[in-house]
Symmetry: D2
Subunit: 340 residues, 4 copies
Amino acid sequence: MMIVMTPEAGEREIDAVKAKLATTGVHVLVLPGELTTAIGAIGDPEGVRELGLEGMAGVDRVVPISRPYKLASSELAHHEPTAFSVDGRKVGGNETFCLIAGPCTVETREQTLGVARTVRAAGASMLRGGAFKPRTSPFAFKGLGVPALEILAEARAETGLPVVTEFLDTQHADAIAEYADVIQIGARNMQNYALLEVAGKLGKPVLLKRGLSSSLEELLQAADYILKEGNEAVVLCERGIRTFETATRFTLDLGAVPWLKLHTHLPVIVDPSHAAGDRRLVEPLARAAAAVGADGIIVEIAEDPEAALCDGPQQLYASDFTRFAASVTAHAALVGKRLA
Amino acid sequence: MMIVMTPEAGEREIDAVKAKLATTGVHVLVLPGELTTAIGAIGDPEGVRELGLEGMAGVDRVVPISRPYKLASSELAHHEPTAFSVDGRKVGGNETFCLIAGPCTVETREQTLGVARTVRAAGASMLRGGAFKPRTSPFAFKGLGVPALEILAEARAETGLPVVTEFLDTQHADAIAEYADVIQIGARNMQNYALLEVAGKLGKPVLLKRGLSSSLEELLQAADYILKEGNEAVVLCERGIRTFETATRFTLDLGAVPWLKLHTHLPVIVDPSHAAGDRRLVEPLARAAAAVGADGIIVEIAEDPEAALCDGPQQLYASDFTRFAASVTAHAALVGKRLA
Amino acid sequence: MMIVMTPEAGEREIDAVKAKLATTGVHVLVLPGELTTAIGAIGDPEGVRELGLEGMAGVDRVVPISRPYKLASSELAHHEPTAFSVDGRKVGGNETFCLIAGPCTVETREQTLGVARTVRAAGASMLRGGAFKPRTSPFAFKGLGVPALEILAEARAETGLPVVTEFLDTQHADAIAEYADVIQIGARNMQNYALLEVAGKLGKPVLLKRGLSSSLEELLQAADYILKEGNEAVVLCERGIRTFETATRFTLDLGAVPWLKLHTHLPVIVDPSHAAGDRRLVEPLARAAAAVGADGIIVEIAEDPEAALCDGPQQLYASDFTRFAASVTAHAALVGKRLA
Amino acid sequence: MMIVMTPEAGEREIDAVKAKLATTGVHVLVLPGELTTAIGAIGDPEGVRELGLEGMAGVDRVVPISRPYKLASSELAHHEPTAFSVDGRKVGGNETFCLIAGPCTVETREQTLGVARTVRAAGASMLRGGAFKPRTSPFAFKGLGVPALEILAEARAETGLPVVTEFLDTQHADAIAEYADVIQIGARNMQNYALLEVAGKLGKPVLLKRGLSSSLEELLQAADYILKEGNEAVVLCERGIRTFETATRFTLDLGAVPWLKLHTHLPVIVDPSHAAGDRRLVEPLARAAAAVGADGIIVEIAEDPEAALCDGPQQLYASDFTRFAASVTAHAALVGKRLA
């Protein structure tokens, strides 16, 4: 950490900061400047952060030198990209592209099996489907719950596709652990730390969506919550952030993908459906996700989106999915990735 | 809802939308315009929202006419401001100002009792204190848990101050119900719907903080989650939103207070400490909160903020709290409010 | 426009709104609802907007039905994509990809000619270069001015590349009109209406950059300022918006490209350099821009970025530009576009 | 500046940074850390900033130690608050509150004189009124121009109130210099540097509005553009920033006022009208502006807001202005300020 003093700060204030730093055992270096003095504190950034130096007399700002995440860092933890296998599909490692598709919400057995067959036929990697749905309004449909998980299991048995589904509440831990192949943490729960810790302990890969107003550093800190449980199979997912722009539902931050690739060893995928909120934007954004270097995408499809109980306008037509998959796969191929 | 068609939309597209609307039983009115046709759907906005009309051919946009929250609305639910009593302190009703203060986190018995006496001596309304703390980094101090609740209970016994404390995880429901007088839902959990529903059932007033990137309409929808459990004692809290500006930790949205006063019957308080992140800004913002018409504030104080384990720089000095309270109270008095 | 009344509004308030609307000659339709009445005003949205109905008693909100831009609209103005030629390079029309590259700022004759030759050799479409530079700090280098324009003209003479350069102040109109082939309006001037009107009158194509906190509707309204001068050769440019995220300099909004393609007939290009602020992100984002359907990109390159007087870290190495151009062109080819 | 290296950076990269820094003559100090090395560069931050070190091999980030503004700084320039007089009204200095009011736009002589008399009768400090109006749509009313300035001069002659009016285009410099007592720079022009430099030279006080997505540091850098012309009479104005929240037109950032008071010697006022966009929010926000420590406010009033050509819904009723002024003045008095 670097403690920057105000121009008015004198010996007394500088000594007080040094004395406080001394309590943590960090190495202290004073940099006298023309206008302001800066004090470097080397070692144990967490300890220095907790000192609350910003409030001391004569302190202007405390500037972190090291980044706040650890286990997710490609600099501090491991340099090689993390890769793991989900029932034979390789996720991460820069050679594969993971195409995950399925209905927004499991509504009926017929609907889910129908879509699963389409997903399978197009050669996609995994099946997604919501059993428990977080809804902004308490009066909206919230998913079928465990019966939906059973339908997803049936779809997996028939198609061989691993199942990705959202984990919403620690009370559902047993059911999720039993049925899911990949456990999804939704954007609204990215900082629900109790949930992250439980998810990390279930022994399954975790797909962690970025919160809609979470910085990339906070996303990596949230990943640290899962990684510290000994679970190394974590996939990050960019799904759009909240900005002043309302033309699209969220602003898909595709620059996040190459930034994350520089700073973390974890695989990164993109969800273009929720960001767009309009299916006409989903395919261009899915192509862009492949081109920008993502390790995969997760999209919503339906045979009859107009009849869907949730998020219909953003769902791709199942009848068009094979063509869609081929188009995205061609872009992934151009950057050296084949379908997982 | 108002369905706005694109200029190219013809009879066929308009008829398809009308047919779809007909399935919900709403009243349909067509407004032919010079360039575009609009279709009004009157009644059951929730039902129309779920139809997903935005994705239909020829539909440009679906514009809500009614607002998405119900029970929290001063127009739809009840017109008079909600007021309730917490151990003799009146919250809401536009005649009282609720001054809540205390340590960020309960660290020791001595620290908590010392601060509680200061809060009491200044004539404040309630004591706040964290037992369970959500932390961005998994490596930071997370609170003492139940022993902290016991310390708060002791402080209440000695000072007579009701206790406000955060409810973080449904697993802590029994302990929170036993010890808290007011149950706080933190900003990061404003859309943790499982938690909201449990909070609504505990039979205690709930202090609901606005999420750091939640719109005011979403805040009122989150309040609906609590209100629908039959719990009418809900206080909303503006605590700063995330914007591009980084000079202050968050941007305190004081315009939210009069906007909420127009649109909801629920009381509204302000947390200036977390938004500022710097104690030098807390007093001006607390005065402004009183002047803008808030029903109270919640602030953090400490005898030795530099020694606090969490958020020290934003904590007011306990030794200055009596003067601070008098200054804020004078501003509240100017808009007709006395200390609760 | 749709005027939504509050639930409390009665006959009197509704009649007052109708009377006010009657002064503009629009067609008025009343939609009585269960809870609220809405009043449709058909025709002359500009006139209705200027009435300021939001402030009238009983009015809750005024919701636009038609979009606020006109000449830039693909629905109202012309349906076919606009295309025009700049010295033989076709811009717009969905068949070509316009690759514009060059130094951030013209610093010396040698530097500019060197880069121009590289740009030419890679088969790029146009040369960019700044003569007048807007700088946040008044103490920073602001460009060479007219001598820079002369150097750009020399580079054009030698390489045959049309020149794109920024128009910053109406006082420079004559010089810009003399030297530029395409007139760039920078992000900070997107709402400098005096400048837009002058730019529209200079008889040259205009490259209009999106303001860093401008909505897409505002971008199209700014385009209207140019189009209404009779100038149809306008290119829009997405260059990143300001959000809470600071990991990248700005958040490149690639979803804006397909959204604009749906709503305007104007060509759309992307500037990945300024959004990224880091050259390691520029190539992935340039590929993504091609994949998402942009009509081109504009990037900064330098032979020795470390020695550049402005924005060095985001500039691509000239020595790598031919490979870069080939990579981006391959992605453009996949969506059916060849280099302009 | 502090240059933070990546954990992988070795001797070679560190030496290259040191060699580059040596070219600027700054003092260089190396801070070896456990994980990363940081290099302090003391003196000439502008020179170091221009080096573009972020792009060099092994450099992770460049962190500024000193702040980017100079002349506006209360730490670097002068410590005492700047105060100046506008025709006998003292602006700045923490003892006065400057109440500026008037019509949004000068429409007619009668309207303007009528409002001016109301402003005078309420004891306000100055008269505002727009002669040249920036409008988002090219089809909207843009003000009367010079005839409006003449009307304002007549109002000044009758009431003795100094006139505040917006300077929009360098072409109007002579007219503005002749008629205005205080020259307003609007939010959309905060980074129109050509305009700032001309404004600084006109020999009149300048009221500089914060850009709607400008950071506070950028606001102070914009002030530097004016101050460096030798003009010390600059007032800053917070007027709301663009955020994700759309319930209010902009988010009024009242925390900006005490932050600016800590970091600049310039006076700071608040415009609650444009941020709110709804007159029912203007009075609470005006009171809050006084309570938070602003040196004044600028508000829009009209005798018949419903008939105003621009921004009617946010304008206060002239008939209510005396009461409004008394309410705001009472709040200002509580923090030790009397009407200027």
